[in-house]
Amino acid sequence: MTGTVEASHRQLSGWGRTAPTRARVDRPVDAASIDGAFRTQTGGVIARGLGRSYGDAAQCSGGLTIEASGFSDIGKLDDSSGTIDVGGGVSLHDLMRHIIPSGWFVAVTPGTRYVSIGGAIAADVHGKNHHRDGSFANHVVELTLVTPTGTFTVSQDADPELFWATAGGMGLTGVVISATLRLIPIETSWIRVDSQRFARLDDLMSTMEDSDHRYRYSVAWLDCLGHRDGNHRSVLTRGDHAPSGAIPDRLRSRSREVPGDPRVRVPRSAPGRLVNRLSVRALNEAWFRSSSRSVGSLHPLSGFFHPLDGVGDWNLLYGPAGFVQYQFAVPATRGDVVAEAVGAIASSGIPSFLAVLKRFGPGTPGPLSFSQEGWTLALDFPLGPPGLPALLDDLDELVAHAGGRVYLAKDARLRPELLPVMYPRLPDFAAVRRRVDPVGVLASDLSRRLGIPG
């Protein structure tokens, strides 16, 4: 097969390190090789970027996993339109290092820079600015997709059905080999941040409803463990790109600093499990105490958007059993579900590190795209507590009945029957799948587990 290097078999899992499976792994560098793989492979094919989806979205047991890292070109930045062509395997990390010195930034960044462009589109990732800027696909001008029926360049105007099925489609419509992204201009690489502490969840949520629109970025962190009279404390952090005038002289030389590589790395031989009820409680306490009310403090981009990227392989801290992320979205009118979920988690006594709450603006037309207008809460749970599977099943029911859904890029355990309830436009997605993949070559462990139709 031309243009393919490094074909081998590997055991793969998601960032949560649960349910590993083995597949052949190829690293093609052109569309023809992917096309060839579609024609010859019988056990399913799925693309894999940087493996940062938490569950089983980027692995295909017994089949073929196509590593996207061969599509690593970063094209010329078009200063007049603020757009750039990038390969599907380019990481946001590399892209940011490329564009920040010229005064540009990605329109949407998730909580890590170590995601590929293809992965960001496939999960239709969101950032702290969803309430005003939407999700990643909203800023994709066009994308080129290799499907089993051919290679197509699609946009919101040219074949919007395929474009939007690909946005959030978890790789099940094909392999994104390149995309044109619309960037945003920035004067500096610093964020001017206001932060506030709250003792009550409803105070936090009403503050977010009343004034999030005044900031480009907004996110709140909740303490799910420690609570007084059923009230959970929280820290709300909101900010905007700092204009050059806001940068003090001492930071002048660093006004367009690019994010660096991780300074420390968790060793493979890290002890059993460092994230447990005690350590979570201690961390929550430290975080809460260190975040006093502040106005206009300057934070570097990396610290503001990607605090965990400073530690390489931080997922190893959860020990060999791994962890699950649980993120749900519910409509704006169902903020009560957030309080109920947090209450259920607190009373279960199961520790969740990193409970993150934010408001979503309007969702996209993507039938499998996660974001929908309202609230979203993200939680981390180390594997181990006996009640965890049942707790998450209960939360699913709560969320589904409130008209909400869970994020497939993080899912590793949803009950398949709830998928069509949470994503009622699943038939639209299936219709696009049948068009571009009539034989059903594209498959992942996620699509098999949830029975995603096609």
Binding site: A19, G55, S61, R415, R449
Partner: protein
């Protein structure tokens, strides 16, 4: 597919009338399991178990085989996978016969049969299952061993030695499959109150099959490669294993 908690969607049970296996499948059905293939010798009791499981599992199929005959292990396993009709996430090996030590030990034919049913057939089956699962890229094998194999006793060395062989074989197979997406989980129950042990006086720490099943499901959630049930037996038998033989011999039971 197995989910993050090791809850399978499709299961094959070799030794489909085992009470422990039935309890395990009942628990798994409450989670994500929707397809079960029950394989065993007695069509009547298999059908009884299948009918019971159909209340909670969408599809239950039955395959017949005899663990005393080692000639058709491979076709039997292949048939189970074909009937499952999808990727198989969990294969439980619950084949076994307790026998009657006092009468069996003097009968070479019975000894050969006990070793066949408790060791030879299950070991050959595990190997065949391992090949299928490796092709799939994932899957788990659960093997019912016994504390009787941990340190054999005068009173049941025939059953115990066969289980000891199976236990070691399964753990060795698990090592050989590292990195393939396939794992092997050895279960070491103590005295379990089932029809197999009916009429025998229970040993200390005797439990019912429900308890064994919930320990197995919990062990799978954690990815435990050796599952003692009840858990305390791990410490009891680690200690007993160190006893001088003269003392070990005198222990009751």
């Amino acid at each position: 597919m197995n989910d993050a908690f090791g809850h399978p969607q499709s299961v094959i049970v070799l030794g489909g009338t085992s009470e422990i296996a039935r309890e395990v499948v009942t628990l798994l059905a409450a989670d994500r399991c929707r397809t079960v293939v029950l394989a065993g010798r007695d069509p009547v009791s298999l059908e009884v178990t299948a009918t019971e499981l159909r209340q909670s599992v969408a599809r239950v199929e039955v395959v017949l085989f005899d663990a005393a005959a080692t000639g058709d292990v491979d076709p039997t396993i292949t048939r189970c996978f074909e009937i499952a009709g999808e990727a198989v996430d969990l294969v439980m090996v619950a084949v076994g016969e307790l026998g009657a030590q006092e009468t069996d030990e003097a009968d070479p034919d019975r000894i050969a049969q006990m070793v066949t049913v408790n060791f030879t057939w299950p070991a050959a089956a595990l190997s065949a299952v391992g090949a299928h699962l490796t092709r799939q890229g994932h899957g788990r094998m659960v093997v019912l061993s016994s504390v009787a194999g941990h340190r054999v006793r005068r009173s049941n060395y025939l059953y115990g030695s066969a289980k000891a062989g199976l236990d070691s074989f399964a753990r060795g197979l698990g090592e050989s499959l590292r990195g393939t997406g396939v794992t092997v989980h050895v279960v070491r129950p103590g005295f379990v109150r089932t029809k197999m042990t009916a009429g025998r006086s229970p040993a200390p720490f005797a439990v019912g099959p429900e308890r064994v099943a919930s320990d197995i499901v919990r062990g799978l959630e954690h990815g435990q490669e050796v599952i003692w049930t009840p858990g305390i037996l791990k410490w009891v038998f680690s200690t007993l294993g160190c006893l001088p033989r003269a003392l070990w011999r005198r222990l009751p039971g």
